[in-house]
């Protein structure tokens, strides 16, 4: 993937990946940081044989979220530090704007963060980013049938949480 290809790929996926991360973390800054790291990792691995770049990018993003929560549970890590670790300058604070969400959207975001992570992932991918169960299966490295079951259960879990 050369610069041009990466640029096109970036433009096509930045919104989706950012949204996916943003819905899973608390703050915009964290979402920006993790998105940065995900794209940077993809760029650095550009010569590796990646059959499906979108699926690969989502896998990176997902792992970033897992690592983020893991490190958060152990000890707080400053975002500047995270940037240093990634050998990359993190997002400038000037770029952070408050994303305006309706009350309902906030509620759904909160519920998404409270259900099982795998359910949260498939809800975002399938219902928000319009990924097919086949595409999700590629990200999760699971069978398509299994993914359909997970999507169904995820929606039920979300529904239950919203009704509480």
């Amino acid at each position: 993937m050369d610069k041009k290809e990466f640029s096109e790929f970036y433009n096509k996926n930045i919104d989706k990946v950012f949204r996916f991360i943003y819905l899973r973390v608390d703050t915009t800054e964290t979402a920006q940081d993790l998105t940065s790291l995900a794209f940077l990792k993809l760029w650095k691995r550009q010569d590796s044989e990646i059959s499906n770049s979108t699926a690969f990018l989502y896998r990176i993003a997902r792992n970033q979220i897992i690592d983020f929560y893991r490190s958060k549970s152990k000890k707080p890590i400053s975002l500047d530090k995270a940037g240093e670790i990634a050998d990359f300058q993190v997002a400038q604070p000037t770029f952070v704007e408050k994303i305006e969400l309706t009350l309902e959207m906030k509620r759904i975001k909160k519920v998404i963060q409270n259900i099982k992570p795998i359910y949260a992932d498939v809800i975002i991918w399938h219902y928000i980013d319009d990924l097919s169960s086949k595409e999700i299966a590629q990200i999760l490295k699971k069978r398509e049938g299994n993914v359909r079951v997970i999507i169904h259960r995820a929606l039920q879990a979300l529904k239950e949480q919203l009704e509480v």
Binding site: Y10, L23, T35, S36, W43, D47, T102, M105, L155, K159
Partner: protein, 299 residues
């Protein structure tokens, strides 16, 4: 909430988008960095041979040792004309070299036999066969010389007899070797000479053994005097030892009278042992007749 409404609400979350300035800034920053592949390109090596540098110090000597042992073992089955046959002859020569004086002639004869058997199995390689046949002739001459070097006459006699028995088939083996007439004649002559020399040694050694030296008589006289005169010295002996020593003395005297010097010497040596046990500093020279030229003091 209906499922439809829920899905609709979820779709509304599509409105979430990152700050466009940030997105642009991020892309620019990423594209400025170098991809990992330009920074580090791992060396590709065949995994199959990756252990070689690590175990080089052990592997090379091991392979050499294995090759040496394999060649050495294989060489023992080779015949004249084979590249590895010199290793076989070298091994045989080493066997002879490291053998004791008493076993050297026997081992040399066995080597000669083996080489003659090897030669009888080969038809080509005339040069090698001739060279080895010549060496066999020399070895056969050395056999009798080596028997002469054995100090103990009785041992020499036994070995001579053994060699005489073992060398009976040598002539037949020599006839089976594809040699020119002259060479075969020379080899047969060597075999005959060797057999004659060994026979001569047997006769001579037997005579040497049977010829009892005069001093042996003196020893027996001295011992006889001791057993008759030194009665006081014997009172500390057990009756069993007294009877045993006297019987030995009688047997030694009888053997001497019969001309069986070796038996006489053997009996005297047994008496000496008894005397030593009873703390009497007595020595009787009981070596072979040739070494009895300067008999020691008995009492």
């Amino acid at each position: 909430m209906q499922e439809k409404d829920l899905i609709k609400n979820l779709k509304d979350l599509k409105q979430i988008k990152p700050n466009q300035d940030w997105a642009f800034w991020l892309k620019s920053n990423i594209l400025e960095t170098k991809p990992q592949s330009h920074l580090y390109k791992p060396k590709i090596k065949l995994a199959v041979f990756s252990f070689i540098p690590k175990y080089q110090k052990v592997l090379i000597p091991s392979l050499m040792a294995f090759f040496f042992v394999f060649s050495f073992t294989f060489a023992q089955t080779t015949l004249p004309g084979n590249v590895l046959y010199p290793i076989k002859t070298l091994t045989q020569n080493a066997k002879i070299h490291f053998a004791s004086e008493n076993t050297k002639p026997l081992i040399r004869l066995e080597v000669v036999k083996t080489r003659m058997e090897d030669l009888s199995k080969v038809e080509n390689h005339q040069k090698e066969i001739s060279a080895i046949a010549k060496n066999i002739g020399k070895d056969l001459e050395i056999v009798s010389q080596e028997i002469k070097n054995i100090n103990n006459k009785q041992v020499a006699l036994n070995i001579s007899k053994d060699i005489q028995a073992r060398s009976k088939g040598l002539k037949d083996l020599a006839d089976n070797i594809s040699l020119e007439d002259k060479e075969r004649e020379a080899l047969n002559q060597s075999v005959e000479n060797s057999q004659s020399q060994v026979l001569a040694l047997i006769i001579q050694t037997t005579d040497d053994i049977n010829e009892c030296p005069s001093y042996l008589k003196d020893k027996l006289v001295d011992l006889g005097k001791y057993f008759t005169d030194a009665q006081e010295g014997l009172y500390q002996w057990s009756s069993g030892d007294i009877i045993k020593s006297r019987n030995l003395f009688i047997e030694a005297s009888d053997a001497f009278k019969a001309g069986d010097c070796l038996t006489a010497i053997d009996k005297i040596e047994s008496i000496n042992k008894l005397l030593s046990i009873h703390s009497l500093d007595v020595q009787v020279e009981t070596s072979t007749p040739e070494t009895l030229d300067s008999p020691g003091e008995i009492f």
